[in-house]
């Protein structure tokens, strides 16, 4: 395609092609600190940002997210949201095509060589919490997917750009001094206002360093502070729902997930502010983390 870029994020390599220059330029800037794949690197996945119809390259330019794996009913996006389209395209390839780890739709951070995994529905605050902890002494491993190793049971990082939505953008702008780490504010996307944040340098430098999971949290933002432990069976069912490739990976996925829920203590945590959550997590980490 006319404009293209190859990116390595965690264990995966993406080849992104675009009919327009702008999304590739935005990616190039935001992923500048990531190790660059060598010339002629073989990509795991191809992502295409292509005109959503005849003439849509120029007239009311509209992006269709395409590639190796596609959703037939995906709605086209405006070109000014092209960076988001590229990120969604990469996520889609992982969600539908990755087979080398069990993919859990969860954020993860690491401290003392052990991983804290945070799962939950979108809007639960798991992504913002990971971003916040990533600025406060934890290493961010990923805000979208935690990759569970089928053999060792460790969590592998997938530290793509952190996708901040709505109020989380302001929270993180106050937290991160360096404005250069932020992508453009994309207002009025199908997911609301979105801005991307480049993970801190240590998150990028250690993007191939896995860590054994020590605690699983189901955070819920917007409720009075409360914690309750969750049983293995319930956790197992939640995680099969939160995994995009559990069914496709078959028996080894069952065993990996079974090992995970029997080894890792799990807590549901309601919270109403970042400071509150940070303190609760510090307590939990001291008491519960195995």
């Amino acid at each position: 395609m006319k404009h293209q870029l190859t990116l390595a994020i965690g264990p995966a390599i993406f080849r992104i092609g675009s009919a327009w220059r702008a999304p590739i330029d935005a990616l190039r800037r935001l992923y500048a600190s990531y190790p660059r794949p060598e010339e002629g690197a073989i990509a795991d996945f191809t992502v295409r940002l292509e005109p959503a119809g005849r003439g849509r390259r120029w007239w009311r330019p509209s992006v269709r997210i395409a590639g190796d794996h596609m959703l037939p009913e995906a709605a086209p996006m405006a070109l000014r949201h092209g960076l988001l389209a590229a990120e969604m395209g990469m996520n889609l390839q992982m969600a539908l095509g990755w087979r080398r780890h069990l993919l859990i739709h969860a954020s993860s951070v690491e401290k003392d060589g052990r991983a804290l995994v945070m799962a939950g529905e979108s809007g639960s605050g798991k992504s913002t919490l990971a971003a916040l902890l990533g600025q406060r002494g934890w290493r961010l491993m990923g805000d979208e997917f935690a990759l569970l190793d089928f053999v060792t049971g460790a969590i592998h990082p997938f530290p793509r750009l952190i996708s901040l939505k709505n109020q989380a953008i302001g929270v993180m702008r106050a937290e991160v001094g360096d404005g250069g780490r932020f992508g453009p504010l994309m207002a009025g996307t199908p997911k609301g206002d979105i801005a991307h944040l480049v993970p801190s340098p240590d998150a990028v430098a250690k993007m191939k360093e896995a860590a054994p999971p020590a605690l699983l949290l189901f955070p819920r933002f917007g409720l009075p502070a409360e914690m309750r432990p969750i049983g293995e069976g319930e956790t197992f069912m939640h995680l099969t729902q939160a995994s995009t490739n559990y069914v496709a990976c078959g028996e080894r996925a069952f065993h990996a997930l079974h090992d995970f829920v029997t080894r890792v203590p799990t807590v549901a945590m309601d919270f109403s502010s970042g400071e509150e959550a940070e303190a609760m997590i510090a307590d939990l980490w001291r008491e519960q983390a195995r």
Binding site: M1, I42, A43, D68, R99
Partner: protein, 331 residues
């Protein structure tokens, strides 16, 4: 044109160790678009490959293994539903290839389950499948009537628990197509696999694959169908017998063309091509190194051809008018 590079690699796997990374990117994207990635992976087993390609191929082979397992299970479920009525479940296409352990099944991705049942048992089969948990997919009455009156299969059914489709055929081409394959001959020569499952004879397998790609449809994903045919023909012992069989089904011209195309794509490439063959080749190789159709106009041409093959002009006009009024537009 990376579909061309893909075909070339299937033809000469020994070139694999010398391919640069950029070529692999195009081949992998084209192979995914053509649903041939696991086929390529199986075909290149034992060849020295770059590590990244080896990992991609290992994933693809796992997916194909899983497709195989699911397809065999669906076949078993269908046999279980139909066996009490004494209706033989004759497997077609992908499920048949893996159930019979054919070369064409190696790495084959399999979607729906396709089976052939005798036309006079069709109604019973339909009732038995509905009772066993399959449900109608389409609710449009025009489509339903159209399928039952003119098609070679029932409207597709989907299993309510397993979410898998079954296509129940009573012959291998629409009743409106010009060639009229002999469905009772297909059934008479069937081969028993045990477990209530049957497959077509080797010759009829080729005839069906040829009819499917060259006498029906718009050749979307046709490269995989041609690969099927190439593998199925390599299982044939007596080519004269195959041609006699094709003549019986009215598919002689289609079989000759399939052989010329296979030879050009996957064989020696020494045989002469007809002028029209070049259009078929251009269509079959239209996927580019990003997995896109690089010749949409040619695709549209074949889409129109597929309708002309399927219906006489007056009937086609009526069909298109009905569909248009219902808001259907070609994609």
């Amino acid at each position: 044109m990376s579909a061309a590079a893909l075909a070339a690699l299937l033809r000469t796997p020994e070139q694999a160790p010398h391919l640069p990374g950029e070529a692999w990117n195009g081949i992998v994207a084209a192979a995914r678009a053509e649903r041939l990635l696991a086929t390529l992976a199986s075909h290149l087993q034992g060849v020295a490959l770059p590590e990244a390609v080896g990992a991609i191929f290992a994933d693809a082979r796992r997916d194909a293994d899983r497709d195989r397992q699911l397809a065999l299970w669906e076949a078993d479920r269908a046999a279980c539903a139909l066996a009490p009525l004494g209706i033989p479940v004759l497997l077609l296409k992908g499920a048949a290839y893996v159930a019979a352990g054919l070369g064409a099944g190696a790495g084959r991705m399999i979607g729906d389950l396709d089976i052939l049942v005798p036309r006079d048992r069709l109604e019973e089969a339909e009732q038995a499948l509905l009772a066993a948990g399959w449900e109608w997919v389409k609710s449009d009455p025009y489509d339903d009537v159209y399928y039952r009156r003119w098609m070679h299969e029932l409207p597709p059914l989907i299993h309510r628990e397993r979410d898998r489709m079954i296509d129940v055929h009573h012959t291998i081409l629409p009743l409106t197509a010009r060639p009229r394959p002999d469905a009772s001959a297909l059934l008479a020569e069937r081969i028993d696999l045990g477990g209530g499952l049957w497959v077509l004879s080797p010759e009829d397998r080729v005839c069906h694959a040829v009819a499917h790609v060259l006498a029906d449809g718009d050749l979307a994903g046709g490269l995989r169908n041609l690969w099927d045919i190439k593998c199925l023909i390599s299982d044939i012992e007596d080519m004269d017998k195959l041609y006699r069989r094709a003549a019986l089904h009215g598919l002689t011209a289609e079989l000759s063309r399939a052989q010329r195309l296979c030879d050009h794509l996957f064989g020696t490439g020494e045989g002469a091509l007809r002028l029209a063959d070049r259009f078929f080749l251009a269509r079959l190789l239209s996927t580019d190194g990003w997995g896109r159709d690089s010749r949409p106009l040619l695709g549209l041409g074949f889409y129109i051809r597929s309708h002309l093959l399927r219906m006489p002009p007056l009937m086609l006009a009526r069909h298109l008018w009905t569909k248009w009024r219902r808001g259907h537009r070609p994609s």
